[in-house]
Symmetry: C2
Subunit: 224 residues, 2 copies
């Protein structure tokens, strides 16, 4: 369902080039629950962004839902992403001038869902993550963990088949984090593919497969 | 060294008022290592901001270094903060147009430290948190955990007596997070006062005192 073949990613920062990923090959099959671990700076977010079609590899092939996405137009890439992929960003990436309700409705808007249905589906997701009484707040009127949950709600509202979550419990207490994990486990039981970057052993424990990164390379992959 | 007396904090969001803190009283003594825990949204960041002079209480008294800070001019508040307090923000708050080196030098600049000494002290702190090879990167050219460490370096560079850290290991793997904790423990051994908001049991375990919040109130305080 998502695949990297000999992917390398190099950032050029002024005079120095940073190799964030080096010759990474990985195949993600439908229905897996994968935990990606590794030290800070080892390339986890970079790998997730390329898998989720949000960033381009410097070299190598990227396959998403059977299509080589370098051979697909930018519009088609965006369409595939919006219909099939949910992405929870490490820095949340909420729009600061929009309320939680408006932020969570955004993917439904892109998918052409009508106003009434959009409102209801977004509101339901907002309640599922425990933000029912914060739906009309702006991001700066939320706590850190509330922003994280708003980002999670937005990623899941369009019921994507493939979910990428970059450290989704980093700002949550154990109880709230556990509830979010239960949510991911439930979605996995229903057949969705889940890929989570995490430092949390509890999260990694729930995964069916673990991939470890170091210095831009995969150093361990437990496979099925 | 820092004290809240019957502090209440109410935010008014349009039509609805949110009581983030309700009648909170706490005394922080010099040399303590305090862990503040509690569910997402319970008021931890709000309490830290008011203790660290970054936000005002709606009612109640706030004492920092023996001075009632509501009776002090805004300039004097800023001066006390810059000289005596280091604050690691939950959202990092790095300046996006400045490099890591420039961001970390900022508190030294405000303290009137000369250019050469500023550069050296900032660079040393940057190396202590493991960012020596990222000093000339901009925040968007860093991983999440690298941004967190840049925020930590900036908070500590002016050698403050009172350190507030809002979930400083949330984006760090266990090993890197452990190194940061060792740093805080070392600073504590040297006599500094440390207040950390955390969801991490490992962090809480190193504290000499634990304060638990729920719904804007202190529900438990282990004291000395
Ligand atoms: N500007 C604001 N306007 C309205 N409500 C706010 C504002 N800032 C914070 N709040 C609310 O105040 C409450 C406490 O927020 P705070 O950031 O202190 O929580 P926290 O304990 O740090 O949570 P977390 O663990 O998620 O970071 C939250 O319920 C939040 O929604
Ligand atoms: N735009 C950029 N320009 C230069 N280097 C970058 C850029 N973005 C990321 N990097 C570097 O690429 C490396 C990998 O970054 P990445 O964000 O994938 O790490 P990570 O494993 O997610 O780390 P963390 O656990 O801290 O979030 C880091 O060393 C980082 O400094
Ligand atoms: Mg990352
Ligand atoms: Mg907080």
């Amino acid at each position: 369902v998502a695949c990297l073949e000999h992917v390398t990613k190099v950032y050029s920062t002024g005079s120095v080039a940073v190799t964030a990923l080096e010759d990474v090959s990985v195949e993600i099959r439908a229905g897996e629950f994968i935990a990606i671990t590794g030290p800070s700076g080892s390339g986890k977010s970079t790998m997730m962004h390329i898998l989720g079609c949000l960033d381009r590899a410097t070299s190598g092939r990227v396959i998403l839902e059977g299509r080589d996405i370098s051979e697909v137009t930018a519009n088609e890439r965006a369409r595939i992403r919006n219909a099939r992929v949910g992405f929870v960003f490490q820095a949340f990436n909420l729009l600061s001038r929009f309320t939680v309700q408006q932020n969570v409705e955004l993917p439904l808007m892109y998918a052409g869902v009508g106003r009434r249905e959009r409102w209801e589906r977004a509101r339901r997701m907002i309640e599922v993550v425990g933000l029912g009484d914060r739906a009309d707040h702006l991001p700066q009127q939320l706590s850190g963990g509330q922003r994280q949950r708003a980002a999670i709600a937005r990623a899941l509202v369009n019921d994507p088949a493939l979910i990428f979550a970059d450290e989704p419990t980093g700002n949550l207490d154990t109880k709230t984090g556990g509830q979010i994990l239960d949510l991911f486990s439930e979605l996995h039981k229903q057949g969705r593919t889940i890929v989570i970057v995490t430092h949390d052993a509890e999260v990694a424990a729930r995964a069916t497969r673990r991939i470890a990164l170091r210095d831009g390379r995969i150093i361990r992959d437990s496979g099925w």
